[in-house]
Symmetry: C2
Subunit: 324 residues, 2 copies
């Protein structure tokens, strides 16, 4: 019996080592290039070897790690929260924009542009402590369902990307999220959904204030946006927060262009990855003309800069973590 | 021979385990309380046990991890750098303030207040890439010497605090610097001096811009101060950057009060540590009346809040890392 167990152990060890770390990625050049890059930077005998402390990988969230159609999920949360707050206290709907938002009238918000968005965000995201805000996000994730898929939003993460994050960490990388999405919003689910702890989530943020009025110090979300973590804001935020240039960056839109550009322009081995939304059947197909996740520069310049352009329809066997 | 080696190994193991991790701390209540706290939060059988991911310790830098007299070391750097830049190009000294700074006339800068300080910082800290700026700090640390001690500035770190940082890390803590000092300035020496990597350094920062004018993306330090990491700014910056409340905080001035207050007001075991500069012989003695490192609230309220007040003269066997 003992001998049999020992034989099993010996037999299984190489199986575990050789198991495909990216089973949801089909046989593709994209997968081969990612694996070749990771193999190179983790092999001490390879001239491209990178010491673990510099193995930093950064990823956009909306459209890169989870879906972003028909509208950024955080905007849906904001409108749902506004509706909930208004049900208890209708007087908070102090403008036609807020009334429309509470009714879920996306078109009105879209037409109102940046100003309308800020109004909705202020009414739904500020004036409460970070803890209260995050509790409301948790509750929303537990109960809200996506109109098209019927899935909880945090199950519309991309299974191939969840595998990629885990694979990178298993290979000594630290994985960061660097997203235009809200910092406090994303931290609620990033650890469970992606294995990314709060201190490795970078995002857009409202200001906060430190209040001790009731004797207990509390950090309160203020209105307005203090920092937009998009476009050039992404490399700026990474440099400010990490003080290191990543060696791998993944995104899906022109909002990620500067982050991939800065990452891949560094010395030594670098990898840029763009997720191209090509799968109208299983997800959504959009790029150059889309108001959300617009991708023009990345498609025009990315291939010449050596970036991996992932064709979702071709390269991924599976899309969502929450459905086969 | 083998038996002897084995016996030596067996004999040495417990010695290593039992070696005092804080040899530069004398026999004192301060040391006992710190060790008791660490023992409690790292013992799985203790009700105060804290899981490693939550073992976050934050420390101010100036006056807590290294000295800050007769003037913040970064101001000395700024004036030295200005003098160096002016030697090559005198036209950069466009005001009496800058002329005084380049001559090292501290009194003039002090009298000029915040405005004079910003002028000196802008002229010495902006308009160059982060890499160029940090190279100038490295060079300064290699060559500049403190007027009183004759030591390189990065050897005027406090040996007892360097030991404390290492001890905490050995016990599964992550150690962060959260200082009013400049983020890009401190990152140059934090890893060598304290074992704190760049992504665990939080500080005051200038704005930065992302430039690709010459075809190579570069992050440039802009004039002005974008965020002051002092007073309420400290808990705000910690929450924003880490998304967690530390369980241990160390400081030395009222600029650290909010950080210690927020840290120690959290649920579960918490420790606040204030370094009280009581040693006029080996260092400097200052607190309530000092323009630098003013400590009033901490002395008045800290003891009742359970904070450890470290008496440098009594509690430390040794002061600087760079001298016995």
């Amino acid at each position: 019996m003992k001998a049999a167990l020992f034989a099993t152990a010996v037999f299984m060890a190489p199986c575990i080592t050789l198991a495909d770390p990216l089973p949801s990625w089909g046989t593709s050049q994209s997968k081969d290039r990612i694996v070749a890059f990771v193999d190179a930077v983790t092999d001490p005998d390879n001239p491209d070897y990178v010491t673990p402390s510099d193995r930093i990988a950064v990823f956009d969230n909306d459209g890169t790690l989870w879906a972003e159609q028909p509208v950024y999920f955080q905007l849906t949360f904001a409108m749902d929260r506004l509706a909930e707050l208004a049900a208890a206290n209708p007087s908070i709907l102090t403008s036609p924009t807020l009334e429309a938002a509470a009714k879920g009238e996306l078109q009105t918000i879209a037409e109102g542009g940046h100003e309308a968005l800020i109004e909705v965000l202020n009414a739904s995201h500020s004036g409460i402590s970070v803890e209260e805000f995050q509790a409301s996000v948790t509750k929303w994730l537990d109960t809200a369902r996506h109109p098209d898929t019927g899935l909880p939003y945090d199950q519309m993460t991309y299974q191939p990307m969840v595998e990629l994050l885990r694979y990178l960490r298993d290979e000594g990388f630290r994985t960061y999220i660097v997203s235009g999405g809200g910092l406090h919003f994303m931290r609620v689910f990033a650890e469970d959904a992606y294995g990314v702890p709060p201190e490795q989530v970078l995002g857009t943020y409202t200001g906060t204030t430190y209040e001790t009025a009731d004797g207990t110090p509390t950090i309160i979300k203020a209105p307005g946006i203090a920092f937009v973590d998009d476009k050039e804001g992404k490399p700026i935020n990474i440099e400010r927060t990490l003080g290191r240039r990543p060696i791998l960056a993944g995104g899906n839109s022109d909002g990620d262009f500067a982050m991939l550009e800065w990452t891949t322009a560094g010395h030594g081995p670098r990898l840029g990855i763009l997720i191209h939304h090509t799968d109208a059947e299983r997800e959504w197909a959009y790029d150059r003309e889309s108001p959300i996740g617009k991708l023009v520069d990345g498609l025009n310049k990315g291939p010449d800069m050596g970036w991996v352009i992932v064709d979702m329809a071709q390269d991924w066997n599976r899309i969502y973590t929450g459905s086969e």
